[in-house]
C-alpha cells in the first residue's frame, strides 16, 4: 500500500492550499517532488497513480507530466545521484574531464547505477551556476568548482554515510 507519511500528507495539504480550490492540479509538480523523495528517489507507476488520486486527476495527467520534466526519475536510481552539468560554460571549464573521471572511478556509464546500488551518474544541461563550473547537483544542493580530488572526497563521504 503506497501512502505518504503523516508529515508529508500535511505538506501536500499545505501545497494544495496555495492554489484556488478548483485548480488543485497546480500542486502536481511540487507533490511529485515530495513523492520522489519519499519513495526511493523515483516515480513508479503505482506512486504516480497514488498522486493522481490525491489531486483528484487522471493517472495519465501525472504520467505525461512526470515524463516531460527531467528531474523526475522514471526508473530506480542509486542512493546517491551525481548530476554533472555538461553545457557550454561548464565544458569550457573541464566538465568533460570530470564526467570521464567519475565514469572511470565508479566503472559506470552515464545513466547507469553501480552494482551496489549506491551511485548513479547522470549528465544534465545547464544548472544555472556557470560561474562556479564545473559542478553537479547532489541532492538538494550543488557541489561546485569540482576537481578530481573533490570528486574523491564526495564519493568517500557517500560511502561513509551508506555504512
Amino acid at each position: 500500500m503506497i501512502q505518504f507519511k503523516e508529515t508529508s500528507l500535511a505538506k501536500v495539504k499545505d501545497i494544495m492550499a496555495r492554489y484556488p480550490s478548483d485548480k488543485q492540479k497546480s500542486a502536481l509538480l511540487p507533490v511529485l517532488h515530495l513523492a520522489q523523495v519519499e519513495f526511493d528517489g523515483w516515480l513508479d507507476a503505482p506512486v504516480m497513480d497514488y498522486v493522481a488520486g490525491l489531486l483528484n486527476i487522471e493517472p495519465i495527467e501525472v504520467y505525461e507530466v512526470a515524463s516531460f520534466y527531467s528531474m523526475y526519475n522514471l526508473k530506480p536510481v542509486g542512493k546517491f545521484v551525481f548530476e554533472v552539468c555538461q553545457t557550454g560554460p561548464c565544458m569550457l571549464n573541464g566538465s568533460d574531464d570530470i564526467i570521464d573521471y567519475i565514469k572511470q572511478k565508479l566503472s559506470i556509464g552515464v545513466g547507469e547505477t553501480t552494482t551496489d546500488g549506491l551511485f548513479t551518474l547522470k549528465t544534465v544541461e545547464c544548472l544555472g551556476a556557470c560561474g562556479y563550473a564545473p559542478l553537479m547537483q547532489f541532492g538538494k544542493t550543488y557541489r561546485e568548482h569540482l576537481t578530481k580530488q573533490k570528486v574523491d572526497t564526495i564519493i568517500e563521504e557517500c560511502r561513509a554515510k551508506a555504512n
Binding site: H33, V65, G88, L92
Partner: protein, 460 residues
Amino acid sequence: MKSVEQKRINIMGRKLLLEKQQVEGIRHYDVYRREGGYRSVEKALKMQPNDIVEEVKKSGLRGRGGAGFPTGLKWSFLAKPDGVPRYLVCNADESEPGTFKDRYLMEFIPHILIEGMIVASYALGSNVSYIYIRGEYDWITDILDQAIVEAKENGWLGKNIQGSGFDCEMYVHRGAGAYICGEETALLESLEGKRGNPRIKPPFPAIKGLWGCPTVVNNVETLAAVVPIINEGAEEYAKIGVGKSTGTKLISACGNINKPGIYEIDMTISVEEFIYSDEYCGGIPNGKKLKACIPGGSSVPILPANLLLTTAKGEKRLMNYESLSDGGFASGSMMGSGGFIVLDEDQCIVRHTYTLARFYRHESCGQCSPCREGTGWMEKILLSIEKGKGKLSDIDLLWDIQRKIEGNTICPLGDAAAWPVAAAIRHFRDEFEWHVNNPEKCLTENFGLRHYADAIHVPV
C-alpha cells in the same frame, strides 16, 4: 565635456540591487529591514496603483530576463475585468546557459525580490502572487519560503498589509528541470500542473494567463529593480545608464575569466573594461588571449574578439542594450539575460557550439516540428564535424536547418537554438572548414586564435 565626465564618475559603480550584499545577515528580515528594506512598500501603499505603473514606465526599466521589453508598458497591458482575479508571477526559472544572476539575488538578498513583488502586486492588483523557481534551485526555495514567512510575520504580506486594505499572499512553486518553462506561457502551463508546452499568442498572458486570468510574468531582477525605482523615483533611476539602457544590470560572468561571478553594472562601461578590469572579470587566466564571447546568454550570437570589443563602425562597444546589438546579427549580438560567456584562444568553437545545440535539443518541448527535428539534426551534424567526420556540405546544411527553424515555431526557443549555430558559422566558418579538412588533427589540436582578434578594417 567636463560635466559629462563628472556625471560618469559620480554614478559609476553605482549599486542598486547589490548595494548591501556585504552586510552580514542581509538574507534575514531584521538586518534587511534595518538597512532600509521594505521602505518602497511603505511608499507604494500611499500611492495609487496606476501611479506606480506610470513610475515604472518613466524609469525606462526593461525586462531583465532576456527580451528587454519595457516593464511599465507590459504592466499597462494587464486587463482588469470586474470580478476576475489578476496574478503576478515571478519568473525564477533561470536556465539560459551562462546566466546565474537571479540565483545570487534570491540566495543572498531574498527580501529584495519579496519587496519588489509586493509593490508590483499592489500596482497590478494581484492578491495571490507566485514565484516559479527552477526545480534544481531546491535550497533556494527554502530560503524564499523562509523570507516569505518573515515578511508575513512582520505584516508585509497577508491581510490588510500595513493597514492599507490591500491583501497579498505569496507562494513559491518549484519547477522540475525544463528550460522551456522560462518562456512565460510554458511557465504558466507548468504552474497549472501540465507539461511546459508554450501557448500560441495571442491571447497574451496580460489578457489570458494563469488559469485564464490576466497575468503579468516578470523576471526576478526586473521585480527587484522596482524597489530602487520606487525608493529613489523614476527620474533618478533613469539618470543611471545611457539612452534606453537605464538603471543597472546584473551580469553573470563565466567561462575563461579570472573572476567569474555576478557584477552590477551601470551600462556605460565598455566590454573591454568589463573583461579586463580588476573590478570585474579580471582578465583571462594564464595570460591567454580572448578569442570569442557570448555576451548575453547562450541564445545570443557569439562574437569573435575583434567584433566584441569594437563595433563594425570602429567604435568601442559598451555593455548595454543598444551597443551590444549594434550592427544587427551581421556584426553584433544582444544584451539578452546578461549571461556573459568568455572563450579563450584555446577553446574550440565547434565543440562549444555542439554543447549548445545539444542543450537546445534536450530542452525542446517537441511541440513544433522545425524545433523538435531541427535541433536534433543540428546536434548530430555538429558532433560529426567536431569528431572529424563532417563534410564541407554539412556546414551549408547546418545553415539551412537553422534558417528553417528560425521564425517557424510557436515560441522563441526555436530562434534561441538557431542563433548560436548561425553566428558560429557566420563568424567562424573557417574553423568549421578546418575541422572538415583536418579530420585527424582536429581530434588532438584546436584551431586556435588565428585572425579572430585582428583589427577590423573600418570602411571610411
